[in-house]
């Protein structure tokens, strides 16, 4: 332990604690921009400078380890003046177009400017003259708004091991950019969108789809909406609810009011996925195929296609739940209505930017009709709801539409890391053994550890499972698989930290509570699962009806036509 004095308070903190962390312990909030929980220290914005007795200059608290006897002032007049000056320097080279900015009201720079009472920039505005890179179907970059904090650089490199971004050039020409100043479409970006989560300003955002949705709604087609599992536990945050508040019924009502003809539940798509994937797993266990990997996460698919094309055979051929639901809405449901597939449009509300990329995949279409027409992130849906003048919190609840509206608890937990595995095990166990599972919870695969392993006994046959989240962890796992160090029957990968609850399209959590927020969302999904009587995908009556009326049985030719897909090695340039 080290004894330090911060703003007159003496305290003991463990060796290696930074002054920033130590200050937090006594309720002193030091402003930061480049520091971010879970990312390496950068030390570039200099907003967290403090005065240390015996030190001539003002060191950055984020990078300053405590020393025995250290006496720190975090808000002395000298420090406050310097901080204000630094903020002005940043603001004077940042466009003052807050009113048309995607991050308006949620921008960290704007908040700091307000907190510091900045009334002028102190310098003439420096025009940066970048252009909007809207080449990617998932992520847009508006570099004029980039304040060069490097949070996206570190998140992409350290969490995802993708490293699309880095710094280029020097001085005021410094730019955060893909290599060789390429556009996003020409890079190996996997579209996970974590960069949009960590970006403090409006420099990085999802590719906008609200306009497309409005066009669809006005097109005369029957426009169907579907909602991913994790949206129902996160959307409320954007309307002032605590993380993990379940708002399923309000979402359905809101979507109807916006004008969607039907509101379906992606959880049902998840249940179908499980019936198919569990059947694949049962077959694999029998044939000795190893490393059957989940295929619901589009950023994960992009990742393996880009970086491990030699391992593509691991992937389950199942489409993602939203794609499955889209395909079914345009076939099974359209038939019921007497409509052609092309007369139905599907809009998916997803926690994810990579889904926007996925929706464009040529492989995800039946007879040339794409399974899904547009993707809204959680954030975009909230905007649409506000724009439509809907008082979300005052909405009554309503139920999803049939026949694609009933789902199980297994489908719900798809939204968190380990959920797909748990759901698959509930079904695969019963398919493989013919017995009824007593305890449906698989605690071994729950939680936020980077790598979770479990061995489940299928009546004397051990089934080994690995569950991982973040692509950095996925890369480590794939490397060890490539070297033959492990053998699993099933592998689940989710690209985002915590799975879809931490998705790149989710409400941006307050950065000091990021992990806590994601955990609360995940917990809410487990609570939802526990509250349901229906907890196994194959017991879902809507799923049973679907197979009876349309798909015949799992892995049948009809199932393959509508529910399965193929993968291709990407060219290395992202396309």
């Amino acid at each position: 332990m080290v004894k330090v004095t911060i703003d007159g308070f003496a305290l003991d903190v463990p060796d290696g604690t930074t002054v920033l962390e130590a200050a937090k312990r006594i309720g002193v909030r030091i402003p930061t921009l480049c520091a971010y929980e879970g990312l390496a220290i950068h030390g570039g914005c200099r907003l967290c400078i403090v005065e240390v007795e015996g030190t001539r200059n003002l060191p950055a608290a984020c990078a300053l380890p405590v020393r025995e006897g250290m006496n720190v002032k975090t808000h002395s007049p000298r420090v406050l003046d310097a901080r204000r000056d630094i903020l002005q320097l940043i603001l004077a080279s940042h466009p003052a177009d807050c009113k048309t900015c995607d991050k308006h009201g949620r921008c960290e720079l704007q908040t700091l400017s307000y907190e510091f009472g900045i009334r002028d920039f102190g310098y003439p505005m420096r025009d940066k003259r970048h252009y909007l890179d809207d080449s990617s179907p998932a992520i847009w970059r508006d570099l004029d708004k980039c304040i060069l904090c490097g949070r996206c650089v570190r998140a992409c490199r350290d969490w995802q091991s993708v490293g699309v971004y880095d710094f280029a050039n020097r001085g005021t020409q410094l730019t955060v950019t893909p290599a060789f100043l390429k556009n996003m479409i020409d890079t190996s970006c996997v579209a996970c969108g974590q960069c949009t989560i960590v970006c403090p300003t409006g420099a990085l955002s999802e590719a906008e789809s609200v306009t497309k949705v409005r066009e669809l709604l006005a097109s005369g087609k029957r426009v169907v909406a579907q909602v991913a599992p994790s949206i129902r536990v996160s959307l409320g945050e954007l309307f002032g609810q605590p993380p993990g508040t379940l708002v399923t019924g309000k979402i359905v009502t809101a979507l109807r009011r916006i004008g969607f003809a039907d509101v379906f539940d992606t959880n049902l798509g998840a249940d179908v996925t499980i019936v198919e994937e569990a059947s694949e797993l049962v077959a694999s266990v029998k044939t000795g195929r190893t490393h059957l990997a989940s295929s619901c996460c589009p950023a994960w698919i992009n990742f393996i296609e880009e970086y491990y094309p030699d391992l593509l055979s691991y992937l389950s051929s199942c489409k993602s739940p939203q794609s499955i639901l889209g395909a079914l809405a345009k076939s099974y449901y359209a038939q019921k209505l007497g409509l052609k597939p092309s007369e139905v449009a599907v809009v998916s509300v997803m926690p994810c930017t990579a889904k926007k990329w996925e929706a464009q995949r040529g492989e995800l279409a039946v007879d040339g009709v794409p399974d899904v027409d547009a993707i809204l992130t959680t954030r975009e849906l909230a905007r649409l709801i506000r724009e439509e003048g809907i008082d979300f919190n005052a909405l009554p609840d309503s139920d999803f539409d049939s026949p694609l509206g009933i789902s199980s608890g297994a489908g719900a937990i798809f939204g968190t890391t380990g959920g797909v595995t748990e759901a698959a095990l509930r079904t695969a166990y019963e398919f493989a053994t013919g017995k009824t599972l007593g305890k449906v919870e698989f605690e071994q695969v729950r939680g936020f550890a980077n790598l979770k392993e479990a061995t489940v006994d299928f009546d004397g046959v051990p089934v080994k499972i690995a569950v991982t989240h973040t692509l950095g962890a996925a890369r480590s796992l794939l490397e060890s698989l490539r070297q033959g160090k492990h053998e699993y029957q099933f592998v689940e990968v989710m690209a985002c930290p915590g799975g879809c609850v931490g998705g790149g399209g989710q409400p941006i959590p307050p950065r000091e509570h990021r992990v806590e927020t994601i955990r609360k969302r995940a917990q809410a999904l487990y609570d939802l699962d526990r509250s349901l009587l229906l907890r196994k995908s194959h017991e879902n009556p809507a799923v049973k009806q679907l197979y009876a009326e349309f798909l015949t049985q799992p892995l049948s030719p009809a199932a393959h036509k509508y529910l399965h897909t193929t993968y291709t090695a990407r060219r290395g340039d992202g396309r």
Partner: protein, 536 residues
């Protein structure tokens, strides 16, 4: 003429003045030519030395092909050609030598204390035999049979301070690296010299690479490193090549490799070419660049001595520092401390450039008054113009005005005068220089070389330049003085690394010392030196 050899100064400075043509001209006349490094007299290049058996050596300046022919003819007859620069020691039997000065009597020579430069321009930098013959590697051999602690002590006792800028005591730095627990440590020679007006490191690397290498080897031994690196600026290809060659020669002579000289000490030296950003001379940025990352500085602590290259304790010393280390181990701490001032021991190479009459690299004891450097060694101002200021410490330093010229050149005094020692670049400005324009010159360098990582440096250099530009266009307001002062203080206080912390210095120093000129620009919209273009 088998009794004559021509030594041609063939460092980059000589080559830039077409020394290769000179060498060719002598070669065509059948004279054996040896390529040596640089004596430090930039203003005399191409500079050659004639060595004729039975005659004292003689130096000729500005030798082109035509002059080479005249020199060859005269030398054959035992006579000096017209315009010989100086003879070494005495005139001897040379005919036509009456008017030729003796080198050792010239101000530009006798006021120097040539230690690290003693071999420069004399030995062939590409022959290890030359260095060995001049007493080379005796320091390393001595170190090898001492406890590493004793080696550190010797350097500490000498009072050697870093010659790269900050003047941190070298011995203390070694102790930090040595005492950091680790299975592996690294020693690095920082040869990323990049200040405008500083070329002493290049001169040493090109003229006497083995001395630098010997110092690096001693530092590696002292801290317990088995791998050492020379980080050379890629824009100095000759320096890099000569260091590579020196390392190979040292290995071939059993001075590098496994179990050196029968001891259990093993060492390898690798030369790494920097990709060429000024900031990569900063230690943490240097390490990042060596590791293959972008050359961004990192916050300290941790210091490189604790966590450096690949996370291991790393000691980084400047080229000139290491050259002194070799001499300290050869001659002892007491010898080293014979010259210099109380807190700044030994000698330092200063590079005199700008409007000095005799530009060059001169090695003088620390504590020598600036006036001696500029007027005695430098010969005053070129073209008989009046002195205006000298800039020391390059783009992170400040200037000295006429009234400060008698200040001794040492670390503390320069700091007290609002400047720094830096790497020893000294740029002379005459009456035709405008202080506002000069401030803009240094700021434009810092602005371009700011890595951009931290806000105070990236935005500060840009804004400071912008404010200075208002003076040079006659659009400044009185409040701009305060703005510059405040922004400068912010940059010093809050920048991440030394580049940003030092970046406002030239402007702040020039304003402090030449405020009247700035005010004239502002109030009268007049640039007395007629350099700045005022907005009508």
């Amino acid at each position: 003429m088998t009794d004559t050899t021509i030594l041609v100064g063939s460092a980059t400075c000589g080559r830039a003045a077409a020394a290769e043509n000179t060498a060719k001209a002598f070669g065509e006349r059948g004279l054996p030519v040896r390529h040596v490094g640089c004596l430090g007299f930039c203003y005399l290049e191409p500079l050659i030395e004639v060595r004729k058996d039975g005659y004292p050596a003689v130096l000729y300046n500005h030798v082109d092909a035509a002059r080479a022919a005249a020199i060859t003819d005269a030398t054959e007859k035992g006579a000096l050609a017209d315009g010989a620069f100086a003879v070494r020691g005495e005139r001897g039997r040379w005919l036509n030598a009456e008017k030729t000065p003796i080198l050792e009597e010239l101000d530009v020579w006798k006021h120097q204390t040539r230690r690290v430069m003693s071999n420069c321009g004399v030995i062939d930098p590409e022959r290890i035999e030359d260095y060995l013959a001049a007493g080379g590697y005796t320091g390393f051999r001595r170190a090898l049979f001492l406890d590493p602690e004793r080696v550190v002590d010797e350097v500490d006792k000498a009072g050697l301070r870093g010659r790269g800028g900050a003047g941190f005591p070298t011995g203390k730095k070694w102790v930090l690296a040595r005492n950091s627990p680790a299975d592996e440590r690294y020693a690095i020679c920082n040869a990323d010299e990049g200040d405008p007006g500083a070329f002493m490191n290049r001169a040493l690397l090109e003229s006497d690479p083995h001395r630098v290498l010997e110092g690096l080897m001693i530092s590696a031994y002292a801290i317990g490193a088995r791998r050492a690196f020379v980080f050379v600026r890629a824009e100095k290809p000759l320096a890099a090549e000569r260091m590579e060659q020196a390392a190979q020669a040292a290995a071939a002579n059993g001075l590098l490799g496994d179990n050196i000289a029968g001891t259990n000490y093993s060492l390898s030296v690798e030369v790494v070419r920097s990709a060429g950003a000024f900031v990569c001379g900063e230690e943490t940025a240097l390490i990042a660049a060596m590791e293959g990352r972008r050359g961004f500085p990192m916050p300290r602590p941790p210091y490189p001595a604790e966590k450096g290259l690949w996370g291991k304790p790393t000691n980084i010393n400047n080229v000139e520092t290491l050259a002194h280390v070799a001499l300290i181990l050869q001659n002892g701490a007491a010898w080293f401390a014979q010259v210099g001032s109380a807190k700044s021991k030994g000698t330092k190479v200063f590079c005199l450039s700008g409007r000095a009459a005799q530009t060059g690299a001169y090695e003088i004891p620390l504590g020598t008054p600036a006036r001696d450097l500029v007027f005695t060694l430098g010969g005053g101002i070129a073209g008989g113009k009046a002195f205006r200021a000298v800039q020391t410490g390059g783009p992170s330093g400040g200037c000295l005005s006429e009234s400060e010229l008698d200040l001794p050149l040492d670390y503390e005094t320069l700091q007290g005068a609002g400047s720094i020692m830096g790497s020893g670049g000294v740029i002379v400005f005459d009456e035709q220089a405008c202080p506002v324009d000069t401030a803009k010159f240094f700021l434009s360098f810092n602005k371009a070389e700011s890595c951009g990582k931290c806000v105070p440096c990236r935005e500060g250099t840009y804004r400071l330049y912008e404010l200075l530009d208002k003076f040079s266009t006659g659009t400044a307001a009185p409040s701009d003085f305060d703005k510059i002062e405040r922004l400068g203080q912010l940059m010093k206080d809050a920048s991440l690394c030394g580049l940003g912390q030092g970046a406002p210095n030239p402007a702040l120093s020039l304003i402090r010392k030449f405020r009247a000129d700035f005010e004239k620009h502002m109030k009268d919209k007049v640039c007395a030196a007629n350099v700045c273009r005022m907005k009508p």
